[in-house]
Assembly symmetry: C2
Homo-oligomer: 210 residues x 2
């Protein structure tokens, strides 16, 4: 067994530690985060730190890092109060990864990386045309995390735009059918295969598929 203690983690070479810590929790929700500034200039960045916060009210959280390309994104979210999350399909994973490059402000990753902006009435932030599960969010809260200078951004789901046939009768989105991909660490991408869907768990009742 390979064991690391905290003091060893602190002494690791920077990129080794980044790869190790980033990959620890496993596969992560992977989305393209779309915003626009006050002049309507769009911005797009790949993000794997979104998390489900609650269904009623419908809330999603995500982490913005300090001193990085994401700062334009955070500025746009704070200024416009709106942003979108869009799933990523296998054919587009290289372009999606490319949105993590540090393009200068004013240079839209939509254009540079080959994505088309999709707008709907009453919402200023751009969705990704090439996605098939798209979420429009309104900012509800930001939390500054003093431990490392990151910002947790919490938004309320205002719009859901999916292609036909992806939502089951019970509301569940079929991400396998959609083709949604996932990621681990900073740079590794994966497709998925269904293993099983299980009934609501009750104490002392054996788990079973539905």
């Amino acid at each position: 067994m390979k064991n690391f203690k905290n003091d060893e983690i602190g002494k690791m070479e920077k990129f080794y530690r980044m790869n190790l810590i980033n990959s620890l929790i496993g596969f992560r929700a992977l989305n393209l985060l779309g915003t626009a500034n006050d002049d309507g200039v769009s911005n797009l960045c790949i993000i794997s730190s979104t998390f489900h916060l609650g269904a009623n009210p419908p809330l999603i959280g995500l982490v913005m890092r300090p001193q990085r390309e994401h700062n334009d994104t955070l500025k746009n979210i704070l200024s416009s109060g709106q942003y979108t999350l869009n799933n990523i399909l296998p054919d587009l994973y290289k372009q999606a990864h490319q949105t993590s490059a540090s393009y200068p402000s004013g240079d839209s990753e939509f254009k540079e990386c080959g994505f088309e902006e999709l707008y709907i009435d009453g919402f200023k932030a751009p969705f990704v045309q090439e996605a098939n599960v798209r979420i429009g969010l309104e900012l509800r809260k930001t939390i500054d995390v003093d431990l490392n200078g990151t910002t947790i951004v919490i938004g309320k789901i205002m719009y859901i735009l999916t292609e036909d046939g992806l939502i089951g009768n019970d509301g569940m989105i079929d991400h396998y059918k959609a083709g949604t991909i996932t990621a681990a660490g900073l740079d590794s991408y994966y497709t998925i295969d269904p293993l099983g869907r299980l009934a609501y768990a009750k104490p002392y009742v054996a788990p079973h598929e539905i």
Copy 2:
């Protein structure tokens, strides 16, 4: 295209909304969260709301829901200041799902769901023997989210325990080799297949595999 606006989301049948909102962001990091109370009674619950917060210091966040079985977990984390996250392998996904059942306090999900506790010197929270990527965390901060009564728990990584051969020369954990599974929504589990690993993205340079 299937579109929902916020007012329609608010009017949805409860379980339809839960399934839809829980499945929106895609595949999620899936772990078993291990704790123990002051008497050493262990607790284990499946969790899919962990998120990477930063590599230096090494921090992981997760969301605890109000008024649910997770409350024992949160009590234990607050009381002991320690907890573990452990990956889930395909053969064990039904048992892992079963840990979401509302067992009474004092009834350990390790025993009820068929997992073995693994302890190391100097750390009170139990790891999962059957996992092969295990993280020991110390509580650093809790954030009460007044929007919905959830609690964001932030911990510092104190221990990493993996089986041999799962960490690459660059620090990246090979979750495909490990067999780590992922989940979408409340109850659907998936295995994964590698799509590609990409070089660090630079502006105006085409993305390429490494």
